[in-house]
């Protein structure tokens, strides 16, 4: 048995893992289905998203040039890396120039692909993963087992053991306590890090914006607090403009976590004051996947895999992943594939070659992944192409039947001989029939040994004594009494999906959505007065205040202290929202409001009722002239431990929005 199959058996026999995986699958599938109900036109969006991604990949060089030029204009330092070694070198150089000792890192699958942490640690630089799930697997010296929920393979008892042992807290399986512990430890990391490091969900060619979507707030911390920010992205992760971005953002979080929008949808344009931003754009085999001239394989067979937006929906839908989790997807050299699941079994061999080609054989081609894909990638077709040896290794195709066991390959090739010679085929059917009667004279079923594969869990039917083709000779031109065909009166067409348009006004819809996420909304004619009352009711008397947000003389009279300077000790931040989104309950914050909406435990936003817009697509242009902006959708949260929703990770635990309706009318 090969090493991959051994690993499969280990996973299947690991009861704890199986429970964790079933949990992940069930909750994710349900969450996704529910989230898509709110966009009845999702099928059409999915087709548009496919076209948007296809267009980007077909014109990648032009879009990259535009994106890079725009970033340079925006004051971002841009680097291009051909492969892992170059990317690591670039990042090491930045670390050396800034004499960095500590790097706070948010999730980046590309950094896993190039094995960045290991390289940095070898140079004596401490790297701390700050996504809760990533932090957990880092403490366990493991790799993430899922691209969205890195600790999906663990149960809370294992996390409790780990935190007890490594962080010295008393053993507890209370998930909010575990999360609060991580928040406390990692808060110090954010404040002391020399460099913040992040991945990139999308780059926008037209504006140069870097879009990062997160829930916990660590993505905002690493891009906002440390003096240097490094963003690492795969070169294919571009969209042409902000409209296309908002289309993809309507699909990505729904597919990934079942959210309409993630808590934090950030758009970074220019570095903040006193901040340096580096953008590292990685090729590492991507150009080869899309360009026949580089791959030596005609027609770029795996090009479509570059459309992927890394939502992880295909992992959750995949019955193979459900048994294995990411750690079982291993190469011939036993290293864990950076990308697991259906898309991983294509891009891991596609980017990294021969070592991972056998992964594609572990699939029934059932197509659940294709159905789940928000950009409609034909994953089963691509899997058959990897099997057909079309994942290029340098300039060489791998062999046909890649990853197939020699016995099966030989058997199929023999079968080809028979199937192309009908007479021989019919004779062999007779032999098979005779053989199966000898093996099993008294039963319709044959019990074959487990080593045949088939015999492992099922019996094989006996070959028919008389095949259909033999019976056909006897039955030739069998004409029964003809019946007139019954006509079909029933309308069997699928029920059309019509969803009642909501009649509620934007403020009500906004309130409903944000309240559902655990946020609070108050309507008021005088936000300053409302906020003073709120603060008093909570016994709070000091706020971090965005300038020009509240009536400051009124605050003074009420005895509320305020400052405009960032101070991580203050518990309340008050900001002015540029707009609200009715369909998701989000508020848009930018530039001067970024710290006040992130560092304190309580975030209060003032929003004018007239500024509530229907949806992200109506608001996305507002970010154009900002240095950085973030759509905030509810309080900071995580589901990294056993998929249990926990509020308040790195960002605020509470969000209160005061809707100012004094000028509406």
């Amino acid at each position: 048995m090969n090493i991959f199959r051994e690993r499969i058996v280990e996973s299947i026999n690991n009861e704890t893992l199986q429970i964790a995986l079933d949990n992940n699958t069930e909750r994710r599938l349900k969450g996704r289905a529910t989230a898509f109900e709110s966009i009845p036109d999702w099928r059409e969006r999915r087709q548009r998203a496919h076209k948007v991604r296809a267009d980007v990949i077909d014109h990648l060089d032009e879009y990259l040039a535009q994106f890079i030029a725009k970033n340079k204009e925006n004051g971002v330092i841009v680097h291009r890396a051909k492969d892992s070694a170059e990317a690591i070198q670039i990042i090491l150089n930045i670390a050396r120039q800034t004499s960095a000792r500590l790097i706070a890192k948010s999730k980046s699958m590309v950094s896993e692909e190039i094995e960045l942490n290991h390289a940095l640690e070898k140079e004596g630089i401490q790297v701390i993963e700050t996504d809760l799930g990533e932090y957990i697997v880092q403490l366990r010296n493991e790799k993430p087992s899922h691209i969205i929920t890195p600790a999906a393979h663990l149960r809370k008892e294992q996390v409790a053991e780990l935190f007890h042992e490594k962080l010295g807290i008393p053993y507890t399986i209370d998930i909010p306590t575990l999360t609060a512990t991580a928040r406390k430890v990692l808060r110090e990391v954010f404040l002391n890090a020399d460099i913040g490091f992040s991945g990139v969900n999308f780059g926008v060619a037209e504006t140069g914006s870097v879009c990062i979507v997160t829930n916990e707030g660590n993505g905002r911390m690493v891009t906002t607090v440390p003096p240097v920010h490094i963003a690492l992205m795969g070169m294919e992760r571009l969209v042409s403009n902000l409209d296309d971005l908002s289309l993809l953002l309507s699909l990505l979080p729904r597919s990934a976590t079942g959210q309409k929008l993630t808590v934090y949808t950030q758009l970074l344009n220019k570095p903040l004051a006193d901040q340096t931003r580096h953008l590292v754009i990685l090729d590492n085999g991507r150009a080869r996947l899309r360009d026949p001239a580089l791959s030596g394989v005609e027609g770029s067979p795996l090009k479509e895999s570059l459309y992927c937006i890394r939502c992880g929906a295909c992992l959750n839908a995949c019955p193979v992943f459900r048994e294995l989790s990411g750690h079982a997807y291993i190469g011939k050299d036993k290293s864990i594939a950076p990308y697991p699941g259906p898309i991983g079994s294509i891009v891991s061999p596609g980017l990294l070659g021969e070592n991972f080609v056998h992964l594609a054989q572990a699939s029934s081609l059932c197509g659940a992944c294709k159905d789940a894909c928000p950009v409609d990638i034909d994953l089963p077709k691509l899997l058959t192409r990897v099997r057909a040896g079309q994942a290029a290794e340098g300039r060489r195709k791998t062999e046909e039947g890649a990853g197939l066991s020699p016995v099966t390959k030989f058997g199929l090739q023999m079968y080809t001989r028979l199937a192309t010679h009908p007479k021989l085929y019919a004779v062999s059917q007779k032999f098979a029939s005779l053989g199966s009667y000898l093996i099993s004279p008294h039963s319709q079923w044959m019990r074959l040994p487990a080593l045949t594969g088939w015999g492992y869990s099922k019996d094989l039917p006996r070959f028919a004594g008389r095949t259909f083709r033999e019976r056909w000779i006897k039955n030739d031109v069998l004409v029964n009494k003809m019946k007139a065909p019954a006509t079909d009166k029933k309308d069997s067409s699928a029920a059309s999906h019509s969803f009642p348009q909501s009649d509620i006004n934007p403020v009500e819809q906004f309130t409903k959505e944000l309240t559902a996420l655990g946020g609070h909304v108050y309507q008021t004619h005088n936000p300053t007065q409302g906020i003073i009352e709120f603060l008093k009711s909570r016994g709070l008397d000091k706020i971090l205040l965005e300038p020009n947000t509240l009536d400051e003389s009124l605050l003074q009279k009420a005895g509320i202290g305020f400052t405009h300077e960032t101070d991580p000790e203050i518990l309340v931040g008050v900001t002015n929202a540029l707009c609200g989104l009715a369909d998701t309950g989000s508020v848009l914050e930018a530039d001067g409001a970024l710290h006040a909406s992130l560092l304190p435990e309580i975030h209060i936003a003032v929003l004018k009722s007239n500024d509530i817009l229907p949806s992200l697509s109506n608001a996305i242009d507002l970010v154009k002239d900002k240095k950085a902006a973030v759509f905030i959708t509810g309080p900071s949260r995580t589901a990294d431990i056993e998929m249990t929703l926990t509020i308040g990770v790195h960002g605020p635990k509470e969000i209160h929005v005061f809707v100012d309706d004094s000028i509406s009318g």
Binding site: S364, T408, T416, P485
Partner: protein, 241 residues
């Protein structure tokens, strides 16, 4: 009189000839003349799915030659073979100016059996009778490969006397996957276990499928576990009077 070609499929031919007979019976009753080209063998799907494209091409070329001069639509009691003709033949011969048009001409003539009845003949009531409870497993390639689902369900809904119940998590693969069931027997076994426990939960004694692959796989699992439920191809159920 309309004539159709029957593509029997290798599994049905060798293991379940009675399914083929049921297909022929039903079509005859509807006044359709059925022709069976005796040179046919296999569509080449196992080779294609395993990644052996050269082999898959050789079989596809043979099959194209067998059917290209035969009259009428090609009807097959298998969603996965229909999927193979319809989609994979185009992939196999992509860029081949001699074979692609020939492959395309064939692929456009192929219909899965229930799809043919409902979409081409506009028939959903075959006057079939069944005493007892039935449940339906949508085979992956029928459901997601060629988007055929309302057709078999409509046909089943019109069986007189039968009670149709839902199979929990019906859309999950049974774990056959052709070569996968041999290459990765451990994975295949887990899915099969789940499918069988869902079948038990449905409490239906009879499971209906549209593909000999799933039939052989699920029935083989039931036999190994000594369960009493049985699996039947939809053609046999629809032919029951």
């Amino acid at each position: 009189m309309t004539t159709v070609q029957l593509f029997i499929t290798c599994l049905t031919d060798s293991f379940f000839p009675q399914t083929g007979e049921a297909v022929v019976d039903i079509l005859h009753r509807l006044g359709i003349n059925v022709d069976f080209a005796r040179e046919q063998t296999c569509c080449g799907q196992p080779q294609f799915n395993a990644g052996l494209r050269k082999d898959a091409r050789a079989i596809a070329e043979h099959t194209i030659k067998v059917f290209e001069n035969a009259i009428g639509d090609i009807v097959t009691p298998s969603g996965s073979c229909a999927h193979h003709f319809r989609h994979n033949y185009l992939e196999l011969f992509e860029g081949d100016s001699t074979w692609l048009p020939r492959a395309k001409a064939i692929s456009e003539r192929v219909f899965e059996f229930t799809e043919y009845l409902v979409d081409k003949l506009n028939i959903t009531d075959l006057g079939a009778r069944w005493d007892g409870t039935l449940t339906y497993h949508p085979s992956c390639h029928t459901l997601r490969g060629i988007n055929v689902d309302r057709q078999p369900r409509a046909l089943l809904a019109n069986i007189h006397g039968a009670t149709l119940v839902d199979l929990p998590n019906a859309e999950e693969c049974c774990g056959f996957g052709g070569v996968m069931s041999v290459e990765h027997p451990e994975l295949s076994a887990e899915w099969l276990k789940r499918k069988i426990s869902n079948l038990e939960a449905s409490q239906a004694p009879t499971l209906v499928v549209t593909d000999a692959g799933c039939l052989m796989h699920i029935a083989g699992g039931l036999s190994r576990q000594k369960k009493s439920q049985r699996v039947m191809h939809i053609a046999e159920v629809l032919n029951h009077q």
